[in-house]
């Protein structure tokens, strides 16, 4: 167990290092002279002499490896440099924006879990009957509807037509509901299929015949025998979906005027603000690695077969 965790942690560290290397390389290889950009940002005329001075100042003339080490050291300490567009510290905004995106993803993941379990069980309860078809149809619809269209629809429905909920802003639980709904549709659709198919496969396993021979009802077998069998699969899929929700956040946050990381990243991409893109990308990649680590540990706790391999 401890062996597994330490091995898995080392693996994550290597991945983190790799991720940082990718982020660094991406910006270094970007076309255009960063020193010129910064010089212009400071409102000075970008004379060759001044540009050279800026380049010296921010360390552009150092060898690449040195620059990487400097940058990584700063990043670990939470210093992501200065935005080329606004001239402000990137890290100044980050903390607040991370909590906004965190709220979005946590709420979305919770709703997606609830909806997908409900839909999946509905389908597994009455396989190939009407409830199953409805659940399957909803899953297909949810997986096929573009997130931005979902957002537009919920705004139109809940906000414009019935004026029940605010359509923008990050201002208390009421304003969270619509973004949560929007961000949860796709993962709920995908996960409901995972639950439905997982339960069906589990219900076709030989041990279900044993459970039947015990005189257990179908409901009891679904919850006692099939559910623990799909838990590791579900956790795995949920992890993937939580990772994907960072991408959805990029669409949903601007739609609802939330100032989160996705919105920040998008603005960075729009204005080619490399430092912002770099910082967000590093945070996203770190988040994926972290989620994967947590998923692996959770699977370890829920699947005794894997637990045994490592004990």
């Amino acid at each position: 167990m401890i062996h597994f965790i330490s091995k898995r942690l080392k693996h994550s560290l290597v991945l983190l290092l790799l991720a940082s290397l990718v982020c660094f390389t991406l910006v270094v290889s970007a076309p255009g002279n960063v020193a010129v950009l910064i010089a212009e940002l400071r409102g000075a005329v970008a004379t060759p002499g001044y540009v050279e001075q800026v380049a010296e100042e921010i360390g552009l003339n150092k060898p690449l490896l040195m620059r990487y080490v400097d940058w990584l050291g700063d990043a670990v300490r939470g210093d992501f440099g200065i935005s080329y567009r606004t001239g402000q510290d990137v890290s100044a905004d980050l903390a607040n924006r991370m909590s906004v995106t965190g709220t979005l993803i946590a709420g979305g993941a919770a709703i997606a879990t609830l909806i997908s379990l409900a839909l999946g069980f509905l389908g597994a309860f009455w396989p190939y009957k009407l409830p199953d078809r409805v659940s399957r149809g909803l899953a297909l619809l949810g997986a096929s509807t573009p997130t931005f269209f979902v957002g537009a629809l919920v705004i139109y429905g809940f906000s414009v037509t019935f004026q029940l909920l605010p359509s923008f802003g990050f201002d208390g639980p009421q304003s969270w509901i619509l973004p949560w709904l929007t961000v949860s549709v796709l993962p709920a659709a995908v996960l409901s299929r995972v639950v439905r198919v997982g339960l069906e496969e589990a219900m076709a396993s030989p041990f279900v015949l044993t459970a039947k021979s015990k005189g257990l009802s179908r409901t009891a077998i679904l919850f006692r025998d099939a559910l623990p069998n799909i838990t590791p699969i579900f956790i795995n899929a949920l992890g993937t979906q939580v990772g994907l929700m960072t991408a959805t956040a990029i669409i949903v946050e601007p739609l609802f005027a939330w100032q989160g990381l996705g919105d920040y990243f998008l603005a960075g991409v729009r204005f080619r603000d490399f430092m912002v893109v770099q910082a967000c990308l590093l945070i996203f990649l770190t988040f994926f690695i972290l989620v994967n680590l947590i998923v692996d540990l959770a699977v370890l706790l829920t699947d005794p077969r894997i637990r045994r391999q490592w004990s």
Partner: protein, 299 residues
């Protein structure tokens, strides 16, 4: 091609509605310039925001452009960009996958590790990162999405290539002295391309979503070229007064994606036997009813 038969058999069972949707999307996309009744970019502010009428079947947008024509041309935009993305992604993926499957060893390990990493990062984030560095534009979008998409076909083609390479007739060819080039181009590549094509088609819906999403964010297809996602974001400020202009492109895109996703679902293997449909059950009962029952062993 024998490998494809079971896949094609499963495809033949998919719902007719999905087939029709895909057919319609491809037909509209291909013949859009001839089908669109009006010029999609002609503005007429006097006719802005109209409802459906004889001249404009689905009304006009806030600039007075004919929505019906724009929807049709958008199908063409979508089809062409999705085709280019998947074409480039498949070319890279098949090349990488077959090389990995042919060589195995460290080449395989390295390429598949790259594929794993690529698959674990959402494609939208990869594409946006590339666009953020290079700057927006049509070809940036296509290349950025292809970069995000190739690991998928890379993994599939590697799996297919490995299974082809382990066939006895390839071993026989080697023993008979066939050159590596001949094995690769005459046997490995054709078999892999066929299988990957089918899976890639099923993935077209997700690719169409990605193109529309980037356009929605203003980083994909640029105005005035009509594209569903971009039409939707254009109409969003007028959501209250004219929701039709938001609904129509959204519905068109969703319908196309549903078609492709249904195709993908019908390709996916289902290992569990389905219960009999009522009609089949009745047929089986009739079959059984014909069997004699004799009270031969009454105790």
């Amino acid at each position: 091609m024998k490998k494809l038969n079971p896949i094609l058999a499963r495809m033949s069972k998919m719902p007719k509605a999905a087939l029709i949707t895909i057919g319609l999307f491809v037909a509209l996309g291909t013949f859009a310039p001839w089908l669109a009744p009006q010029d999609p970019s002609t503005q007429n502010l006097l006719e802005a925001g109209l409802g459906p009428n004889a001249a404009h079947w689905l009304g006009t947008d806030h600039l007075g452009r004919d929505t019906f024509s724009r929807l049709i041309i958008a199908a063409n935009t979508s089809l062409v960009s999705v085709g280019s993305v998947l074409g480039i992604a498949m070319t890279i993926g098949i090349a990488m996958g077959t090389i990995a499957g042919y060589h195995r060893g460290w080449v395989d390990d390295l390429l598949m590790r790259v594929v794993d990493v690529g698959l674990s990062i959402p494609s939208l984030i990869i594409a946006l990162a590339v666009i953020g560095i290079v700057g927006p534009g049509y070809w940036t979008m296509v290349l950025a999405l292809a970069l995000a998409w190739w690991p998928m076909s890379g993994r599939i083609s590697r799996a297919v290539a490995v299974s082809i390479m382990s066939k006895p007739h390839i071993e026989a060819l080697r023993v008979l002295g066939a050159s590596p080039w001949r094995i690769y181009f005459n046997h490995l590549l054709p078999g892999t391309i066929g299988a990957v094509m089918v899976y890639a088609t099923a993935d077209a819906g997700v690719a169409a979503l990605a193109v529309a999403t980037l356009s929605f964010l203003g980083l994909g297809i640029q105005p005035p070229t009509p594209e569903w996602g971009q039409m939707l974001v254009d109409a969003l400020p007028y959501l209250e007064s004219d929701p039709r202009q938001v609904l129509l492109p959204g519905l068109a895109l969703t319908a196309a994606v549903i078609g492709f996703n249904t195709l993908g679902e019908s390709i996916a293997l289902n290992r569990i036997p389905k219960p009999l449909t009522r009609r089949m059950l009745a047929a089986r009962r009739i079959e059984v009813a014909g069997w004699a029952k004799e009270g031969i062993d009454a105790q």
